[in-house]
Each structure stands twice: as structure tokens, then as C-alpha cells.
């Protein structure tokens, strides 16, 4: 590892003032928690939470052929998108292994935004930049783009308190986005997220982020909003069974075994990894990413071996933690297909101690749709 100094987002001083504890993450000094992971998790499930995710990468492709470049690099079918619509997808390599999971935003037929994981920004910037060469304009806008996530059942009330444009955002459909001016800041608001709750993600200029952050905090605190760190972000996404790149998926996993076959459209035109994924689709899977509950006394963690009841190592835990809302210790891990059925019992090797676990349906947590306007 290169010991480069950690970078700070434009909200660093806000986090310090709010009492954040920081951790290094993907080269950034990011808030892992403020009041506490569980309290922040509950705030997001019960009211709202605001996250600084400015470490995410924003890649912009523009020009006549940008739609073809983007579509060629991702597994999902971007031709289905209209202006102002976004799509979750994988980007694979030629071997069909996952380079990153992304959200692709169609601003216009000739103007695309691709949001990648912070930990993959250099890799994906090079990947998209290379493919764009001679075909369309490419710009890595990560350095000047801040990203906030406002998530939770009261997220749209929080926005509404900012004024008319905030109120109108409640008409935004799921996985749609539009430009808006909030708290005097020009931004792009997308009805997307990574928590299993309703909410939005807000892109703005790097230095404008504190203004909008402070406005959302002031608007939201009376409604129960809390600033939330990467700790809560992780427990929230795990309960919603949203994959975390570097934990559940990486360049050694392909989308089908990770349960991401729904973002692979083999019926679309050619794309990077298509031939390998067609082969993979025609073969029986060797393993499946499953959700499980730890029944015994233990908390599964990333990297712990999974064993059959005879003690033989059969897989690996990729994510695990207590699930504050589901009230159980939960996890994700790869198991052989014959052991991936709901109800299957196996063991999690918690540092030498075998603890009982059971495959359960996912998502572990699903929000009630009442009141939401997806």
C-alpha cells in the first residue's frame, strides 16, 4: 500500500463540528460515526439520515457516441433509459468478472454520468477514459463533485422544508433525477440510495456542499434527521442486501453468482464481458452469494470461513454485522449451490469457534411502501 496522505471532503469541518469519528476509507478520511452506529441506523430507518459520500467517483461522458461507449462498458441495457433516468449496473472485464458496480445517469442522449465506487475511482476512470478515446468526450469530475445522501422515510419532508423546489422533488420517481436549486445551491437530485430506504442523493459543486449540508441538517433535525457515517451506511445496506464492492463482489466474482444476474442483459448488443457471461450463464454455478442469520453466539465478519455441519470449509463470509433493525446477527457469503437453499444450516468459523447459521431469504429488511411514491 502506498501511504499517501488521506484526502478530506469539503464537509470535513462539518463532520468535526458534529463530533464525528473518522476512518481511512479508499484514500479518504471519512466519518464512520457521529453519535453511534446503531442510533444513526435507527434514525435512517425511522426518520432520516444524511451522509457525506463525496468520495464516490463521478465520470462524465459527452458527445454523439457517448451512449454507445457507456452501453458497451456496462452489463445492463442503458438503451432503456430516458433523459433524467438512472440505472444500476455492473461493469465487467472480458472475463465477465466485476470491475465495479455503478449507477449510470442519462442526462441527455449525448450526456451521461457514471457514478462509481470511491475505492474503484482510479480504475474506472482509466477504463471509461480509455474506451472514450477517439469516440466521445470524457471527464473525471470526481474532484469537483460532492455527493450527499439524504435517506429515510422523512427525507422528502426534510427537502420540502427547504422551499418550493424541495417540495416538488417528491414527484421524482425512483431512479429518476433532475437539476434543482436547494438552499441556494445548484445541484442534481436523484431518487436513489444505498440504505434500503426512500430518499435522494444530491450532487453539487465541491465547495457548495457545506451550504446544502447545513441547510439539510437545520431542516431535518426537528424531524429526527441525524448525520450518519459509513458505519451505519454499511449496516443499512447489508440489511437491504445491497452488495459492497471489495467485500461481496470484486474482480474474482461474476454477476450471476453474486445475485446480480438481473443487471446483466445478454439480449442487448455487444458489451465488455458478454462472451464470458454467456458461457457462465450456460454452466451450472459453482457458488452463490446467500444471506444468512447467525443462530448461535457470534457475529460473522468479512473473510470468516463458512463450513458444512461436518466442519469442512465450503465458503466464505463476505459481509457480516449485527442488523440493528432486524435484530439479528446477519451476513452474506458464498456457499456451494447445493447448500444455498433457504433453511440450509451451516457453520461460521468465528476465529476458530464454529457458530450455527442458517440461510435466510433476502433482503433481511424491506421497507413498507406505504406513503412512499416510488
Amino acid at each position: 500500500m502506498i501511504d499517501a496522505p488521506l484526502r478530506r471532503t469539503s464537509l470535513y469541518a462539518e463532520h468535526v463540528a458534529l463530533g464525528a469519528r473518522f476512518v481511512p476509507f479508499a484514500g479518504w478520511e471519512m466519518p464512520v460515526q457521529y453519535a453511534g452506529v446503531v442510533e444513526e441506523h435507527r434514525a435512517v430507518r425511522g426518520a432520516a439520515g444524511i451522509f457525506d459520500v463525496s468520495h464516490m467517483g463521478e465520470l462524465r461522458l459527452r458527445g454523439q457516441y457517448s451512449k454507445l461507449v457507456v452501453d458497451y462498458l456496462v452489463t445492463n441495457d442503458t438503451k432503456r433509459l430516458s433523459d433524467g433516468q438512472a440505472l444500476y449496473t455492473c461493469a465487467c472485464n472480458e472475463q465477465g468478472m466485476i470491475l465495479d458496480d455503478l449507477i449510470v445517469y442519462r442526462r441527455a442522449e449525448d450526456d451521461w454520468l457514471v457514478v462509481c465506487n470511491g475505492s474503484n475511482r482510479a480504475k474506472m476512470s482509466a477504463h471509461f477514459g480509455q474506451a472514450a478515446k477517439d469516440h466521445c468526450d470524457f471527464e473525471d469530475e470526481s474532484e469537483r463533485t460532492a455527493l450527499l445522501a439524504l435517506q429515510g422515510p422523512r427525507a422528502f419532508e426534510v427537502l420540502a422544508r427547504l422551499g418550493k423546489e424541495g417540495q416538488e422533488l417528491s414527484t421524482l420517481k425512483s431512479f429518476h433525477f433532475r437539476d434543482a436549486t436547494l438552499a441556494g445551491v445548484d445541484c442534481t437530485v436523484a431518487r436513489t440510495g444505498y440504505t434500503g430506504e426512500d430518499g435522494v442523493e444530491i450532487f453539487c459543486e465541491w465547495d457548495d456542499a457545506p451550504q446544502i449540508w447545513r441547510a439539510l441538517i437545520a431542516s431535518g433535525i426537528p424531524l429526527g434527521l441525524r448525520p450518519a457515517g459509513l458505519g451505519a451506511r454499511d449496516t443499512l445496506r447489508l440489511e437491504a442486501r445491497l452488495a459492497l464492492y471489495g467485500n461481496d463482489i470484486d474482480e474474482s466474482t461474476q454477476p450471476f453468482e453474486a445475485g446480480l444476474g438481473w443487471v446483466v442483459r445478454l439480449d442487448k448488443g455487444d458489451f465488455v464481458g458478454k462472451a464470458a457471461l454467456e458461457r457462465a450463464r450456460s454452466l451450472p454455478p459453482t457458488r452463490r452469494l446467500v444471506g444468512f442469520e447467525v443462530v448461535g453466539r457470534g457475529i460473522a465478519r468479512h473473510g470468516y470461513p463458512l463450513r458444512d455441519l461436518g466442519g469442512r470449509e465450503v465458503g466464505t463470509c463476505t459481509s457480516g454485522s449485527p442488523g440493528p433493525t432486524v435484530g439479528k446477527n446477519i451476513g452474506l457469503g458464498y456457499l456451494p449451490p447445493e447448500m444455498s437453499q433457504i433453511g440450509e444450516r451451516f457453520l461460521v468459523d468465528c476465529r476458530g469457534k464454529n457458530v450455527d447459521a442458517t440461510v435466510v431469504p433476502t433482503p433481511f429488511y424491506k421497507r413498507s411502501r406505504s406513503g412512499a411514491k416510488p
Binding site: 463530533g19 446503531v38 449496516t235 457475529i299 454485522s321 449485527p322 446477527n329 476465529r351
Partner: protein, 131 residues
């Protein structure tokens, strides 16, 4: 944030505290350790009463939502009690780390063993240096 460090306890570099009485040394983790861990969700003991422990040996693990830490014996001796309440209410560690959230009690081989550990001012300096 400053939590006052009880003056009547001794401390290890790994953020355990030790309270010496004539018959035993009661062991727990410090407020600093608790703050670093966050919400404690699981305490597991690898020892039971009657087991021998040596200084620096792990006697269990404590887990919060995000992380797992080993618990180390501050002195050599025999385990006399473990805090069974933590099996069902690990949050006692968050609520009262110097009291109801204690971990184990050890009958020390050497009654003066805790004198080798840090006193409160030395521990405060250790925490300040590690922050």
C-alpha cells in the same frame, strides 16, 4: 471528549482496567475503549472459572457493530468469576464500563501484580498519545 479515569484502578496498554481487592482482581475495559468500540453487541469468554490465565493472554473477545477486539488478562492467576450478565446484556459495557460492565475476576498468583500496571495519570497520558 474527556471521561474521567477512576484513580483507584490500574490500567493496561490494551485499555483494560483492574480493580484490586484482597481476594481478587476484577477486570473490565476503559471508557476510552468503549468509546472506540461504539455499541457493544457481543462479549464472548474463552475461559471459565477455574481456568488459569497469564498476563497478556486473551481471555475473550468483545464485539461492537463494526469491530472485534480481544480482551487480555492484566495479571496472572485463576479465573474466579465471569460476568454472566454480559451474555444477554452486552450493552452494560456501554452503560457502566467501570461497574456493571465488568468482565472477569482473577485470583492473582501475585497479590501485588497490578502494581506493575499503569496508574490513572499514566493511562491518561497513554490515551492522549494514542489519539
Amino acid at each position: 471528549m474527556k471521561t474521567s479515569t477512576p484513580a483507584d484502578l490500574r490500567y493496561t496498554k490494551e485499555h483494560e482496567w483492574a480493580r484490586t481487592s484482597p481476594e481478587e482482581v476484577v477486570v473490565g475495559i476503559t471508557a476510552f475503549a468503549v468509546e472506540q468500540l461504539g455499541d457493544v453487541t457481543l462479549v464472548n469468554f474463552d475461559v471459565k472459572p477455574g481456568d488459569d490465565l497469564t498476563t497478556g493472554k486473551a481471555f475473550g473477545t468483545i464485539e461492537s457493530v463494526k469491530t472485534l477486539s480481544d480482551l487480555y488478562a492484566p495479571v496472572t492467576g485463576k479465573v474466579v468469576r465471569i460476568n454472566e450478565a454480559l451474555a444477554t446484556t452486552p450493552e452494560l459495557v456501554n452503560e457502566d464500563c467501570y461497574g456493571k460492565g465488568w468482565m472477569i475476576a482473577i485470583a492473582p498468583a501475585d497479590g501485588k501484580a497490578t502494581e506493575l500496571l499503569m496508574d490513572a495519570p499514566a493511562y491518561d497520558a497513554h490515551v492522549a498519545a494514542s489519539e
